[in-house]
Chain length 420, copies 2
C-alpha cells in the first residue's frame, strides 16, 4: 500500500497517497460528523453547515472562494452523509497548497453571516423540493424513517424546510464546535503529491487546533418493522424493503455484501435475471447491504408498473429466501470478482482513494490495505453467506412504497411488516 | 498524444491508447447510429437494439453473457444517445480479449428472439416510466421536442411505449444492417493494453465484415421557437430554454462552450452567483451549450419554487443578455481553466479516453490531441464569445416548463417564444 497515515499532535489524521504517474490530485478534509450527530433541534444542520462553509470566511466572500479555486481550474465540492461530511477539491498538481488553504479557511474561519444564512436556507429548501420530486430518493428516506424509529439515522440528511429554517449562526457554531474537533478530522491527498511537501502544509493549517477529548459516537439504533406508503399519482411504483443487517466492522459485514451483490448486484445476479431478464417486470432492480457504524440493513429495491408491485414483492422475497439456502460458490465468486475489480478501478482514481481512506479511518480507526480487503473478501465462505442471509430473513422487515401501487397487495408478502 | 488510430481495410476504425501505469483497461465499440438515424416508424429502436444486444447470441444466452464477463469482475454496459450507441467494458488488464469476444458476439450474432424481445420491450417501457417521473429529464425532452420540430433529434431517445412495442426482430435487423456498417464503427481500448496485442484481435473480430458505402448523415434540423408546459402538481417547477447554437465543428463551437460555462458552469459563474448565491432562489441552475453534429443549442435551466419561476426566467434572460456584452476576460479565463483541468482529469481515466476518442472520430473524422483542444480553447477571444452570445440571443427561443408554475408569468420574458 502506498498510502501513509500521520497523526498530528492534536489528533488530526493526515493521509498521503502518492500516484506519481498523474498530473492532477484530489484533496479532501472530512469531519466524522453527519446527520446522526445532530440533536433533534438540529435536524439538517450537518448539511446546512456544509453549505454555509462556502458562503464566506473572515477574509473571503462566497464569490472570492469560487473565483479563486476556479481560476486554476479546480473543482471544489462537499457532501454530507449520515456519518460524515467531506469537503474536497480536484486540482492540477501545482494547486494542492492553494486548495488546502481554501478548505482550511472555509472550515476554520466561516463567517456565518445572518443574511447569507437566510438565503442559503432557501437554497437548501429548494434542494429538499428537488429530492421530494425524486421518487427513488423518497422511498429510501421513507425506508430509513421506518427502520430506525426515533434515532437520528431515521431522519433525512437534508432536514425539513421548517428544521432548516430554524437554524441560526449560533446553532451552526455550536454543532461545529461539538463535532469538528481535531480527533474528528481527516485530511487526505492522493495523486501527484508527496508526504515531504504535504505534511508541513497539513501541520501549518491543522496543527494549531486545540486538542479536545474524543467525542462519544451516537448510540446504536433499534430496528423497527412496518410499512410506509406514499400513494402519489406517478407513472411507476417504487418499493424498497430491508431486514436488519450488520455494522461495517461486524465479522459478517463482508459476507452480507457478497450476499446482496450475488442476490442483486450485477447483471448475472438472481434478481436481475429473475425480475428483469426472465420476466421483463422492471428496469431498475437490485439488492443492497448498507453497513453503518453501529448497524446495517440488507434489502432490495425495484421500480415497476404499479399493478405489478405485489407480484414483484413476492418474487423479491422469494428470491431472497431461496438465495439464503441455495447460493452457489460460483455466484459468490462472481460477486467477489466484481468487488475486487471495482476495488482495483477505484485505486486508479485519486478522488476514490481519499474517500475510501477517510471512511476507513472513521470506521476502522486505521487504513486497510487493498490486500487486506481482498483477503477479507476471499475468506467469505458459502456458509458465512448463508448465516447472514438467515439472520436477515429471520428478523422483522421494514417496507416503503412510493406510487399508486396497492399497499394491500404487499400484506401477504410482508405480513410481519404490515403488523409492525 | 499516446492514442493511435488504425483503419481496417473495411473501414472499421480502431483506437489504441496505452496507459501502462494502470492495472485495468476500458474497451468499447461505438456505432455512429443513434436516435437521429431512426425513421419515424423506428422511434426508440436505436436504444431498444442496444438492450437486445445483451439478450442472447447464436452461442450465448443472456445469462451466459452476464456470467462470463462478471466471472472475471468485468462490467459490461451500453448507452444510446442522439447520435451514437456505445457498448463498453471495464475490465482488469488480462481480460481485454474476453471482453472484445463478448462485445463482438453481441453485435454480430444477436439472436433477437421474439420471446426475449417481448420481455425487453416491457423493460424499456419501465425505463420510459422512470424517466417520465424524473422532472428534469422530462423538461429537456420537452425542450428538444419544441426546438427541433419534426426532425428525429426532437424525439426522446427511449421512444414511447407504443413505438417500442411496435418493433419486431425484423425491424431491429433492418436498423442494424443500415446503421452498423464497418465505416460506422469505432473500436477503442485504453489502459493496460498495447497496439501489438490489440490490433490482431480487432482484425480477427472486425476485419471480416463486408465493407459498405458510407451512409449519409441525417439532414440538419430547423430550429423552432415556442413554449411547452406540463403543469403536473409537483414540489418544484423546472424551466429550460434555449436559443440556436452551433454544430460541434463550427468555428465558434468552443466559444459557445466558454460562453455557457462562464455564464452558468462553475460556482463562480454569473448564474450561480446571481440566482443561487445572491438570491437563494434555486439549488440547481446552470447554462449549457449543446453541440450536435449539424446544429446546437445555447440555453439555461433552473429548478425552483413554482411561485418564483417568472422572476427566475427574467433573471436568467437578463444575465444571458448582460453576459453577451460584458463578459470579462477573467470570466472567460476561469471557464477555460476549468475546461482544461477537466480535460486533464479525463485523460487519467481510460473510460473517459475511449469515449472521447469515439466522439472525435464521429464528429471530426480524426483524433484531436489534447494539445489541439487546449490550443482551440486558448484561441477563443472575448470578441468570439460576444459574437456567439449575440447570435444566440438574436434568434428565436424554445422554452419548456414542468411543474405547477404559471406559464403566463413567462410571457413577458419569452414574448417571441410565447408567440411561436
Amino acid at each position: 500500500m502506498s498510502a501513509s497515515l500521520h497523526t498530528l499532535s492534536n489528533g488530526v489524521r493526515v493521509v498521503v497517497d502518492p500516484m506519481p504517474s498523474l498530473e492532477t490530485a484530489a484533496l479532501g478534509v472530512w469531519a466524522h460528523a453527519g446527520s446522526v450527530d445532530e440533536r433533534e433541534d438540529e435536524h439538517g444542520i450537518a448539511h446546512l453547515l456544509e453549505h454555509m462553509a462556502f458562503k464566506g470566511t473572515a477574509t473571503r466572500t462566497a464569490r472570492a472562494i469560487a473565483e479563486e479555486i476556479e481560476a486554476v481550474g479546480g473543482h471544489l465540492n462537499a457532501a454530507t452523509s449520515h456519518q460524515r461530511t467531506g469537503y474536497y477539491a480536484r486540482i492540477l498538481k501545482d494547486d494542492v497548497a492553494l486548495a488546502l488553504d481554501i478548505i482550511a479557511d472555509i472550515l476554520f474561519a466561516p463567517r456565518f453571516d445572518a443574511g447569507e444564512l437566510a438565503k442559503e436556507q432557501e437554497v437548501v429548501v429548494q434542494e429538499i423540493g428537488e429530492a421530494a420530486d425524486t421518487p427513488d430518493d423518497v422511498v429510501f428516506d421513507m425506508l430509513m424513517a421506518r427502520a430506525w424509529g426515533d434515532h437520528p439515522l431515521a431522519r433525512p440528511i437534508l432536514g425539513t424546510p421548517r428544521s432548516v429554517r430554524a437554524q441560526d449562526p449560533q446553532s451552526l457554531r455550536g454543532f461545529m464546535e461539538r463535532c469538528y474537533r481535531p480527533a474528528d478530522l481527516v485530511v487526505a491527498v492522493a495523486g501527484n503529491a508527496d508526504a515531504e511537501a504535504f505534511l508541513p502544509l497539513a501541520e501549518r493549517y491543522f496543527g494549531a487546533l486545540e486538542p479536545a477529548p474524543a467525542r462519544a459516537r451516537p448510540a446504536a439504533p433499534v430496528f423497527h418493522s412496518g410499512l410506509s406508503h406514499d400513494p402519489r399519482p406517478i407513472e411507476q411504483t417504487h418499493l424498497a424493503f430491508a431486514f436488519p443487517g450488520y455494522a461495517a466492522t461486524h465479522e459478517l459485514a463482508f459476507a452480507a455484501r457478497l450476499y446482496a451483490d450475488a442476490l442483486g448486484g450485477g447483471m448475472s445476479s438472481r434478481l436481475f435475471q429473475s425480475i428483469r431478464e426472465e420476466r421483463g417486470l422492471a428496469y431498475s432492480v437490485y439488492a443492497f447491504a448498507d453497513a453503518y457504524e453501529r448497524c446495517g440493513l440488507v434489502g432490495a429495491y425495484a421500480g415497476a408498473a404499479s399493478d405489478q408491485i405485489g407480484e414483484i414483492a413476492r418474487l423479491l422475497r422469494r428470491d431472497m429466501e431461496a438465495a439464503a439456502d441455495g447460493m452457489t460458490r460460483a455466484e459468490i465468486d462472481r460477486a467477489r470478482a466484481l468487488l475486487r475489480a471495482s476495488l482495483m478501478m477505484g485505486l486508479e482514481n485519486p478522488a476514490s482513494r481519499i474517500d475510501s481512506a477517510a471512511g476507513q479511518l472513521f470506521i476502522w480507526g486505521r487504513l486497510l490495505a487493498p490486500e487486506e480487503i481482498i483477503a477479507r473478501l476471499d475468506a467469505v465462505s458459502p456458509d458465512d453467506v448463508r448465516r447472514c442471509a438467515e439472520h436477515a430473513l429471520s428478523g422483522p422487515c421494514a417496507v416503503a412504497m412510493v406510487g399508486p401501487g396497492d399497499a394491500a397487495s404487499l400484506s401477504a408478502v410482508f405480513a410481519q411488516a404490515a403488523r409492525g
